[in-house]
């Protein structure tokens, strides 16, 4: 048996050499815990993220929009499942993770605690929320834990349509009637700042960033990703003649980046703590889904057990 010190040395060397860590490899306890927390939180976000958009499927303005939104929301369910199964390779169970979500112990991305009140919000969510998620997920394709990285590669392949369908909705509204353009602008106004908050607190105040960077779980910091998102998104807004709701937004030649205004972190923490417009509604929706589906899950297990019993009885007779 190797001692813990030599195992740690081997682990550190793998991280240094960019060799992925796999489920059965030895890993520091904190690395495992950090991953379980992060991956399950990510999975919960995909699942809860289906709620604000899901209510618009039956109200989409055309068949084309409807099939696209339906496919997108279905993809998010798939993303949740890829991620739950990646987390399960670390020794947690689906039941534990779901329980942690339902009791409020586990978090999900705060962005989904905002409501989608008009059709333009579906455009803004695809463009901005999926856009911000993509920035983060592209970075995570290079994360040090193998199953997480592989889930991310799969997810990233599917995400680009999500952002494109959202941007197309915004583009169409922005080119439409006065009212339609105003609706698009209003959605941008409401979703812009929460989207910037999606990257998490500033580096200086982020308690997990340093260790996660050292373990190569994260490959870029919150502030780096946020800046990357602003730089990519501002020209997209200009192109469809919408205005980013930030009077301090200005191109900085020296930094080759946009400077942008102060984020209202008080609002962010308030929503994280459960006081956003939809926290209660989202959690209740998930709790009810679990409760109302329980008899179906139990019946399926009972049916499977009966089938396998019948099969083995038959085999005995034959």
């Amino acid at each position: 048996m190797s001692s813990e010190a030599s195992m740690l040395e081997k682990f550190d060397e793998k991280i240094r050499k960019e060799i992925k860590i796999e489920p059965r490899d030895w890993m520091p306890d904190k690395y495992r815990k950090t991953l379980i927390r992060q991956i399950s939180q990510h999975a919960h976000s995909e699942i809860v993220g289906m709620l604000p958009e899901g209510v618009w499927i039956t109200r989409a303005p055309s068949m084309r929009r409807k099939v696209a939104l339906l496919a997108k929301v279905q993809d998010e369910a798939g993303h949740g499942l890829y991620l739950y199964s990646a987390a399960e390779t670390l020794g947690t169970t689906r039941g534990e993770m779901i329980d942690d979500l339902h009791t409020g112990k586990a978090k999900y991305s705060s962005i989904f605690n905002y409501p989608a009140i008009t059709w333009a919000d579906i455009g803004a969510i695809g463009w901005l929320v999926d856009g911000a998620a993509i920035m983060n997920q592209v970075m995570l394709c290079r994360t040090s834990y193998g199953p997480y990285a592989r889930a991310m590669v799969r997810i990233c392949k599917e995400e680009s349509f999500h952002q494109r369908q959202g941007y197309e909705i915004m583009l169409t509204l922005a080119k439409g009637s006065e009212e339609q353009k105003a609706m698009a602008q209003d959605a941008l106004n409401r979703w812009w700042w929460p989207s910037l908050m999606m990257f998490g607190p500033p580096d200086a105040e982020s308690k997990h960033t340093a260790q996660s960077m050292a373990w190569k779980i994260k490959r870029k910091t919150n502030d780096e990703l946020r800046q990357q998102f602003v730089n990519a998104t501002v020209p997209q807004a200009k192109l469809i003649d919408l205005t980013i709701p930030d009077p301090d937004l200005v191109w900085n030649e020296e930094r080759n980046s946009y400077d942008f205004g102060e984020i209202d972190w008080e609002e962010f923490w308030n929503v994280v703590k459960g006081n956003g417009p939809c926290n209660k509604e989202r959690l209740e929706a998930r709790q009810n889904a679990a409760k109302n589906g329980e008899w179906v899950r139990d019946a399926a297990i009972a049916f499977a057990e009966k089938q396998s019993q019948r099969k083995s009885n038959k085999e005995q007779v034959a």
Partner: protein, 96 residues
């Protein structure tokens, strides 16, 4: 969480095209093997990623121990004569 147990976990293998091996793509929960195949279709092949699916209940997979990696694979490590480059042939022989 339900009083009864979680649905078992299944490992999913997909053949992406005729002529290729089935390859491990991830796992999922299902009550039985038929449901595992149906769920695998919905979760892992929404964009024509496969033409054939294998499902194996995870508990039936026996994996080698990564700590044994050195001793397990060492026998293949020191047998360079298993590789074609070990043999010296005259330059005139271009392909063999």
């Amino acid at each position: 969480m339900s009083e009864k147990k979680d649905w078992p976990l299944w490992e999913i293998f997909i053949r992406s095209r005729a002529g290729l091996n089935h390859k491990h793509v991830g796992s999922l929960h299902a009550a039985d093997e038929d449901m595992a195949i149906e769920n695998a279709r919905d979760v892992y092949t929404r964009r024509n990623e496969g033409i054939s699916i294998w499902v194996v209940e995870s508990k039936h997979i026996k994996a080698s121990n990564p700590e044994d990696e050195d001793s397990l694979f060492e026998p293949a490590d020191n047998k360079i004569y298993r590789h074609p480059t070990f043999y010296n042939l005259p330059d005139e022989i271009k392909h063999m």
